[in-house]
């Protein structure tokens, strides 16, 4: 088990981590997600003993790893894969063998372990090739094998797919799942791609400005972000500020700049709140049309239409500004263009309410 307590790291005047607390359980895949520069890499580098914390500690199975005087042997119990795919300028085989040679393992043991690792990453037939001639995705697979072959109890991966194309990314993700499933390796990975976190992780933490804003299962984080910045990061593009004016059995009316919005919450009347709504949960109707069962329906005017591949992003002003994601067909059928009149509707259950005050942590 990895326990991180009150961990802080400063580089000069720049405070990169501020009081990080986290427990990672044995055998789980934990994803640290967050925007670039939020301190994710620094956290992993501290766990891998590549950086020393300014304060706080990291315990692995009870041992404070930075205080211990056998840092090299502690480090040899972990493996790390870096964002940039790099290989040593030698053969694929020797790359994977590097960690084993450092550990002074016998030639026969090296042969069999490297062979197994190369089969796992699908490069067994290219063992003697110069690793520098591999593609980026292949190099990253070599990096994974190089870290894995030493049989670490903890594998750290810092944005392992950030520099790779979608197919290479899929390969690496598949590898990560298999490593965790077949070897029971505990994995901590960082990513700025929240969907990757959702695909891979058992639990994840959203790191914002050097601290975890929320830790939970992907489902919890995606459906119930507990602060506005987490909501923003997980794709809840519409964040409306308002005040609870009335509340009845878990359903409140929130005043958003003079417009009432119905939303489920236990936050009492009088509190300042943010209403978070995914753009895909907002439905647009022709002006004057029946908006069905949605509790929240407003007339508005289109302010922008932007194509995003198969979907279009439509901005509407209906007393407050909202963005909706709709199909191309809907854009045509509803005649959506800047200035057009539309009806905006969303269910009360599509609104996630957080206290504004929670942001100031």
């Amino acid at each position: 088990m990895i326990e991180i307590t009150e961990l802080s790291k400063r580089f000069g005047a720049n405070e990169v981590l501020r009081g990080v607390d986290l427990t990672v359980r044995d055998g789980e895949i934990f994803a640290v997600i967050g925007p670039s520069g939020s301190g994710k890499s620094t956290l992993l580098r501290i766990v891998n003993l590549l950086e020393t914390p300014s304060s706080g500690c990291v315990r692995i199975d009870g041992t404070d790893i930075h205080a211990a005087d056998r840092q090299i042997s502690i480090r040899r119990g972990m493996g790390m894969v870096f964002q940039k795919p790099v290989v040593f300028s030698t053969t694929v085989f020797e790359n994977v063998a590097a960690g084993l040679r450092i550990r002074g393992m016998s030639e026969a043991a090296i042969r069999s372990r490297v062979k197994e690792a190369l089969e796992l990453i699908g490069l067994a037939d290219r063992a003697e090739q110069n690793a520098r001639t591999l593609s980026g995705g292949e190099m990253q697979r070599v990096a994974v094998a190089r870290a894995l072959v030493t049989d670490p109890v903890l594998l750290l991966m810092d944005e392992p797919t950030a520099n790779l194309d979608p197919i290479a990314t899929e390969n690496i993700e598949d590898l990560i799942r298999r490593i965790n499933r077949d070897y029971g390796t505990t994995l901590i990975l960082t990513t700025h791609d929240l969907l990757q976190g959702q695909r891979l992780a058992h639990r994840m933490g959203v790191m914002i400005e050097g601290g975890f804003a929320q830790v939970g299962t992907p489902r919890e984080i995606f459906s119930e972000p507990n602060t506005r910045s987490v909501a923003r990061f997980v794709g809840m593009e519409n964040i409306l500020e308002g005040r609870v004016t009335a509340r009845d059995r878990g359903v409140a009316t929130v005043d958003v700049g003079g417009t009432p919005v119905t939303a489920p919450t236990d936050i009492p009347a009088g509190e300042e709140v943010c209403l978070c709504i995914r753009p895909e949960d907002i439905t647009l109707y022709r002006a004057g049309a029946d908006t069905g069962s949605a509790r929240n329906a407003y007339s508005g005017r289109v302010t922008s239409v932007r194509s995003l591949g198969p979907l279009s992003h439509v901005g509407v002003d209906c007393g407050f500004a909202v963005a909706a994601l709709v199909t191309w067909k809907a854009v045509d059928d509803l005649g959506l263009c800047t200035g057009a009149e539309v009806q905006v509707a969303f269910k009360a259950s599509a609104v996630h309410v957080v206290r504004q005050a929670e942001e100031e942590r």
């Binding site: 891998n48 090299i72 480090r75 790390m80 870096f82 964002q83 040593f88 030493t150």
Partner: protein, 233 residues
């Protein structure tokens, strides 16, 4: 124009027929510059490594100084070595002036800074992620440095090649310390490619100079081809 073309063909003829005078000069040039390169390598690579590894006050200044000496004028080296080995100098009793040995010394001094500096650059130039990877794999300090040198080996080899190229191409020190002498014995003469080109040209032996020039360029070409092949392997 015709004269130039004619001289060129005569030069080629001198090379193809393995003209003894031309071959002797080329061989001596290679021996002297290779010797200087080997000695400089034996000093510069360990020295560069030590400077790279150790942290000390004035390290930056020292590296700056070394880099400044990349452009060390060959005649300054010639003058410096001359002062030491001329009859009146502190090493005058060795009688080294106008000997191939003296030329080796001068060329070694000339290429030491650039080879040391490029060795330091080669080691500092290893990708930071490679460094992190080595440490992350659990290397101790000795293993870390060994792997670092292994990663930098092609860049260090390039430093050696640059040193050799500078040694074989320089003329200032060779003429001041060697004197372009032509004696009856191979080991006491000091005529090398550059000094011979310089003097034969002034004497009007254009085809002879051209032959030596072609050989000099060919040596540079071969050395670079070898380096490229090794680096791409």
């Amino acid at each position: 124009m015709n004269e130039i073309i004619e001289a060129f063909f005569q030069a080629v003829e001198l090379i193809v027929t393995l003209d003894p005078a031309v071959m002797e000069i080329a061989a001596r040039s290679l021996i002297i510059s290779l010797s200087a390169t080997i000695i400089a390598t034996a000093i510069a690579i360990p020295l560069g490594f030590l400077i790279y590894v150790h942290e000390f006050t004035g390290k930056k200044m020292l590296i700056n100084l070394i880099q400044t000496l990349y452009a060390l004028p060959t005649v300054i080296v010639g003058l410096f070595v001359f002062v030491f080995i001329s009859r009146a100098g502190p090493l005058g009793f060795l009688g080294l002036l106008f000997t191939p040995t003296a030329m080796v010394i001068a060329q070694t001094v000339l290429i030491l800074p650039i080879m040391t500096g490029l060795t330091i650059s080669a080691l500092s130039g290893v990708d930071p992620t490679i460094r992190d990877t080595i440490r992350s794999l659990g290397a101790n300090t000795r293993q870390y440095l060994a792997l670092l040198v292994r990663e930098a080996r092609f860049a260090i080899l390039a430093a050696v090649v640059v040193g050799f190229s500078r040694a074989i191409a320089e003329v200032g020190a060779a003429i001041m310390i060697g004197g372009n002498t032509k004696t009856s014995a191979f080991w006491t003469s000091t005529r090398v490619l550059t000094t011979a080109i310089s003097l034969e040209t002034s004497m009007g032996n254009i085809e002879f100079s051209m032959a030596l020039g072609i050989i000099l360029l060919a040596i540079a070409l071969v050395v670079n081809l070898v380096l490229m092949t090794v680096q791409q392997r």
